[in-house]
């Protein structure tokens, strides 16, 4: 096998995990855009998605095609509950307090998972098959390929909805100016709920995909940290930024991990983060906030 082919295969695997990063980053972006809250529990909600799928598909023996929507709905329900029960009450509080609440929420979710399912990693029932896929001569793992296609489709749908759907335009309007949106008749609290519900649903869906590839464990929420890097590099309020930065960081991680050694994987990711914060702190596609004095 030629080096060239190997390079292509590593890159494809990187793009595949990059698409999952993008999908998780989408959850951060949706929630930040609408409510200006950095929800650090996105990673744990992703983990909950994986465990809910495990509960429905393995413990209750439901068909995976029923378990997937149920797991996504479960994640969405957590998002809706958290927004309605905690975040909405904290509107107008110091952003750091709200941020800390999401950190706490993450710990609570990890605790619940450990109480119910224990700390051992588990494998999810296989629903994607394992026959490899070949693009030309390059080999791609079937699961990574499927995850890539699903994540790309979901993000494309979101990009289209933001641009053309009236609800998406209402969310963008709320993100730009809450008071003006409110007085234009946009149901601003409704937009907050919608963003949290859809964002956490997307994270849970990413959890099912991620869990099918690498198994689930209470620590898999750490994937959310890589997604947070993606969001900061792409721009906190940009869906397109999440897509581009997710793919780029997935690619860099895979290449660095293969050619430089596994220990360089995170070094390269966070190196990019530091560089980005120095050059463009608002991200590739983020809105540059202008403070008027």
């Amino acid at each position: 096998m030629s080096d060239y082919l190997f390079f292509i295969e590593v890159s494809l695997a990187g793009l595949g995990s990059g698409a999952l990063l993008s999908l998780t980053a989408l959850a951060f972006v949706l929630i930040y855009k609408a409510t200006r809250v950095i929800n650090l529990a996105v990673g744990e909600i992703l983990m909950m998605g994986g465990y809910l799928f495990f509960a429905f598909a393995a413990s209750m023996n439901l068909s995976p095609w029923l378990a997937i929507p149920l797991a996504i709905a479960g994640g969405a329900a957590i998002g809706a509950l958290v927004e309605r029960g905690i975040i909405r009450r904290m509107l107008g509080e110091n952003p750091i307090s709200v941020f800390m609440v999401t950190v706490g929420l993450g710990s609570v979710l990890v605790g619940i998972v450990e109480l119910v399912w224990g700390t051992d990693p588990r494998t999810l029932p296989d629903f994607m098959g394992s026959a490899p896929i070949f693009i030309g001569e390059a080999y791609v793992s079937r699961k990574i390929a499927i995850s890539f296609v699903v994540a790309a489709l979901v993000i494309a749908v979101f990009l289209a909805l933001f641009r053309f759907w009236r609800g998406g335009v209402a969310l963008r309007a709320t993100a730009t100016d809450q008071a003006a949106a409110y007085s234009c008749g946009i149901n601003v609290p409704g937009v907050f709920s919608l963003a949290w519900t859809i964002g956490c649903g997307a994270a849970a869906g990413a959890g099912v995909l991620l869990g099918s590839i690498g198994g689930i464990a209470p620590t898999m929420g750490a994937f959310g940290l890589s997604a947070l890097v993606v969001v900061i590099v792409g721009g906190l309020d940009s869906v397109a930024g999440a897509l581009v930065a997710g793919l780029a960081i997935g690619l860099v991680e895979a290449l660095a991990g293969t050619y430089l050694g596994g220990e360089y994987k995170l070094v390269s990711t966070f190196g990019i983060l530091i560089l980005m914060l120095m050059i463009r702190p608002y991200g590739l596609f983020g809105t540059k906030e202008i403070e008027r004095l």
Partner: protein, 279 residues
């Protein structure tokens, strides 16, 4: 207009609003007649903007009521008020930056779309027809009317201040207002922009028949176009009436310029020193 909207009557009854111990508005009552232009004026800190925020639903007054055509709307949230026919502009321009002029104006109609958000997902059917009708109506009745045809595909952030204010007025008109609340429509504008805006406000009143309530500092403009003026000072109404009567009211002159009488000024300063000493 596709169909004439009945201009609304607005009554404010015994309204009081305080922030902690600070009384921003103290037992204020006034009325805005249907189809008139009423101006709310007063020195800085008089409570004009607080009053505006109570009328548009952003603040909840502790006492008193706001009535639209006799119906109590004091506790109604802004989105529902938008459906009832309230529309407002903001003192500091509150446009959706990053969107085009047309998108901004169309968002004004959000509250009145009769198809729901799920129907809006379809590219055909009632929601799409409603979109097309909306666009035609906006083009005809608002964009041409306010002379912003040439900028309608531009992002709002690229426009001059005066034009941004005009787009904000356009968005408020797209809300099919029965009462239009303008918060300092000509603040920070030059002479020419102010005259344009005054002309548009008069046109709205004459062609749409909309009831208009505005807060404004530009006395020339207020006196030129309003039918009725209400003067606030320290959260209370100190004068009301026709523009020329209000202009000559000694209390109004005193509030704006001081009394002009050196003896009275000395007396007031002495009185203030006394109260300060007593405290």
């Amino acid at each position: 207009m596709t169909e004439a909207l009945k201009p609304a009557r607005l009554d404010v009854e015994g309204l009081s609003l305080s922030f902690g111990g600070l009384k921003a508005i103290n037992d204020v009552s006034f009325s805005v007649e249907p189809g008139s232009i009423t101006a709310l004026i007063g020195p800085n800190g008089a409570g004009k903007t607080s009053m505006f925020n109570c009328i548009s639903g952003f603040y909840k007054p502790q006492h008193g009521r706001v009535l639209l055509d006799g119906e109590d709307v004091t506790r109604v949230h802004p989105p529902e008020r938008a459906k009832m026919g309230f529309a407002r502009t903001f003192q500091n321009i509150a446009l959706f930056r990053g969107m085009t002029v047309l998108d901004n104006i169309k968002l004004g109609r959000h509250a009145h779309m009769s198809t729901n958000l799920l129907q809006a997902l379809a590219f055909f059917g009632p929601a799409a027809r409603e979109e097309i009708a909306l666009r035609a109506e906006v083009e005809r009745d608002i964009i041409d009317f306010l002379e912003i045809n040439h900028i309608r595909h531009m992002p709002v952030a690229a426009l001059s201040y005066g034009l941004q204010k005009r787009v904000e007025l356009a968005r408020a008109l797209a809300m099919r207002p029965r009462i239009l609340l303008l918060d300092e429509p000509v603040a920070g504008m030059n002479r020419e922009e102010t005259e344009d805006m005054a002309r548009f406000i008069l046109d709205v009143k004459e062609e749409w028949g909309t009831t208009i309530l505005m807060v404004e500092h530009d006395m020339g403009m207020v006196m030129d176009i309003s039918d009725h003026v209400v003067v606030l000072n320290f959260g209370q109404v100190i004068a009301r009436g026709l523009p020329r009567d209000v202009q000559e009211d000694p209390q109004v002159v005193a509030a704006y310029l001081g009394s002009g009488d050196p003896a009275a000024l000395m007396k007031r300063l002495a009185a203030e020193a006394d109260t300060a000493g007593a405290a």
